[in-house]
């Protein structure tokens, strides 16, 4: 299978005074194969949104390589080649905010085709019709502006615009948080359809482990800017090796009173204070398995056995 997206050794240090206070990335690497969905999992401060922005060419990185379909994405956001832009498109957390409030949906779609040069003018009406059909949107919505749409419709138009560029790679940033439960279910069905029918490659950024379990083939777990565990979803979420991944899974309360209470009682005492990242393993202060070596050297992700895709950055548990 070919590699659609490759990230190698990316580091970002955040300038203080920005909104996203803690986020920084250190030496992050991952690959997404064509047609697959890779989930980037982590909590606030893990750097998952920053990484997504670096990949999209919206954020400057200090070091490392990002390749989209083998094309280098320039570290300077203003010099990212247009070829990259039309291959990979974002779906932002708040899809409503990503659509210009002054513009009608039709004009936004036409603009995306125009800027990317993906569809010649004569073909555009047909292409728009096809996109609306695929995304389950009614024609008359084209004349509306974003404030006249429901949450689900906003997201679908944001998706339609992304696909109008001809992109076959999507970055979905917490795609369900802005939606109510019925719209969430519809959105998940839609993502599955896009993957199945169009072979869309997806980078899914989420803290929602249930969504990740359903939607992702592979998972990368980030903790305070570093990859702590990665591999196929069934392995990482089924038999987690890194103590942080285990804590994450243990923190989700199942919809079953007896089980939820058992899980709650079994939780380790944890202050979860976001103090400066310590030297050595960032998770060491919270880790139940911590040994002295953890506080000295920063562990790199290692395959859990030779040749395994499942890797964890914990010398104690691997």
């Amino acid at each position: 299978m070919t590699v659609a997206l490759e990230v190698a050794g990316v580091s970002v240090t955040y300038r203080p005074g920005r909104d996203d206070a803690v986020a920084a990335l250190r030496d992050v690497s991952l690959t997404v194969r064509r047609g697959r969905t890779l989930a980037l999992v982590g909590e606030s401060g893990s750097g998952k949104t920053t990484l997504a922005r670096v990949i999209l060419g919206l954020e400057r990185r200090e070091s490392g390589v990002v390749r989209v379909d083998g094309i280098d994405v320039d570290a300077d956001p203003s010099r990212v080649p247009r070829d990259v832009r039309k291959r990979i498109q974002p779906l932002f957390q708040d899809p409503g905010a990503s659509l210009d409030p002054m513009w009608r949906m039709r004009d936004l779609l036409i603009e995306a085709m125009d800027v990317s040069g993906s569809v010649p003018p004569s073909m555009r009406p047909a292409r728009i019709g096809e996109l609306l059909l695929a995304l389950g949107l009614a024609d008359d919505l084209l004349d509306r502006r974003v404030h006249e749409l429901s949450g689900g419709q906003k997201q679908r138009f944001a998706l339609a615009r992304a696909l109008a560029t001809g992109a076959d790679m999507l970055v979905l940033d917490e795609p369900l948080t802005a939606l109510d439960p019925p719209a969430q279910r519809a959105a998940m069905d839609l993502f599955a359809t896009l993957k199945r029918d169009r072979g869309v490659t997806t980078l899914l950024v989420s803290h929602d482990l249930d969504l990740v379990r359903t939607a992702a083939d592979d998972v990368v777990v980030l903790y305070r800017g570093r990859v702590v565990e990665s591999g196929p979803t069934t392995d990482v979420l089924g038999t987690p090796r890194h103590p942080y991944t285990r804590l994450l899974l243990a923190s989700v309360m199942p919809p079953n009173p007896a089980e939820a209470r058992r899980r709650l009682a079994a939780l380790p005492e944890d202050d979860a204070v976001a103090d400066p990242v310590p030297s050595g393993c960032a998770f060491a202060p919270r880790c139940p398995l911590v040994v002295d070596a953890c506080r000295v050297a920063t562990p790199d992700p290692k395959p859990i056995r030779d040749g395994a895709e499942h890797a964890a950055a914990c010398p104690v548990s691997v």
Binding site: L56, G57, R85, P101, T165
Partner: protein, 326 residues
């Protein structure tokens, strides 16, 4: 109201906006067409009717032989049109007369003309300089923004009234008596102060918009910076631009009247609402207050300001598609 209604259609569904726009249109037409209308010569002295009170009867009069001769001799298209349309008929001093028996109606119309010109200059300078400086500063953000905004602070801290006094004094001292030189200085000063509010408001709005998701989405689509600025940033700044205009223009009108009232703005024979109020104030005395000399230009200014404010408010609402429509 259908979704496809444009901002103009939305604007004119609003009754108060229609009235305000109508008033402004009429005032502008009257001021611009003052030379065609059968108005008395604003400078024509008639000591037989000093301090006449306002009144409707008679509504029209015939020009004095002297004035008729002057009108007949006046070159240009406007007097010719007036002669063809109205002959020797002239509107009586419905608003009363001043200390020299000059028609206050005619004088107010001329005063309006200058006030409107001041408003127009302020609007144009504000839109050009204020929007450019504000949008540039907010869009660039960071160090550029800090630098530009310090410059704006500097411009804002210039004591404008003193500058006008110096300029007027300088003109007097250097023996320049051409009244138009004074008007130029006057308008230049208005321009200097008028754009600052606009720059600040537009900058704050641009700063907030530039980190918005739809600007990020535009970048991710590979749009060039000019395209993002002109097609996505600026249209979203229009509502705040209108707010700034509706703050600035009335302020400049008042400022103009204030300066002229103090004798530092327009001077005879040019007229503005400020100079009219000034002479009204001079003619004021407790025994015979002759309030109409103060009231007429005052009410004229108030009507103008009110109409501008109402219209500005309605235009802002109409320009923002997000607002719910009744």
């Amino acid at each position: 109201m259908s979704r496809s209604d444009g901002p103009v259609a939305i604007l004119f569904k609003d009754t108060s906006a229609r009235i305000a726009a109508g008033i402004l249109l009429i005032l502008t037409l009257v001021a611009m067409g003052a030379d065609v209308l059968p108005l008395a010569d604003p400078g024509a002295v008639d000591t037989s009717r000093r301090f006449a009170a306002p009144g409707l009867a008679p509504a029209t009069m015939t020009l004095s032989a002297e004035d008729a001769a002057r009108l007949a001799a006046a070159p240009g298209l406007a007097p010719a049109m007036r002669r063809a349309l109205f002959g020797d008929t002239v509107i009586a001093p419905l608003f009363g007369t001043d200390e020299l028996g000059r028609c206050l109606l005619s004088r107010t119309v001329r005063g309006f003309r200058l006030s409107l010109a001041a408003a127009a200059v302020a609007a144009i300078v504000t839109l050009l300089i204020g929007t450019t400086v504000g949008a540039f500063s907010g869009w660039k953000a960071g160090r550029t923004d800090a630098l530009v905004m310090r410059f704006v602070d500097l411009a804002d801290s210039v004591p404008v009234v003193f500058i006008v006094i110096f300029a007027v004094a300088f003109l007097r001292a250097s023996g320049i008596t051409d009244p138009s030189a004074k008007v130029v200085v006057f308008f230049a000063t208005l321009g200097m102060v008028s754009w600052i509010t606009m720059a600040r408001l537009v900058r704050a709005s641009a700063l907030a918009l530039r980190s918005g998701a739809f600007i990020d989405a535009s970048r991710a689509l590979g749009m060039s910076e000019p395209r993002i600025v002109f097609r996505h940033l600026l249209p979203n700044l229009v509502p705040v631009m209108i707010v700034a205009l509706s703050l600035t223009v009335p302020r400049i009108l008042l400022f103009e009247s204030f300066l002229s009232f103090l004798g530092m703005g327009v001077e005879a024979p040019d007229l503005s609402l400020g100079t009219l109020a000034r002479s009204g104030f001079a003619a004021f005395n407790p025994v015979d207050p002759r309030v109409h000399l103060l009231l007429v230009p005052g009410i004229a200014l108030a009507v103008l300001l009110l109409a501008l404010n109402v219209l500005g408010d309605a235009v802002r609402d109409a320009a923002d598609p997000r607002l719910p429509r009744p």
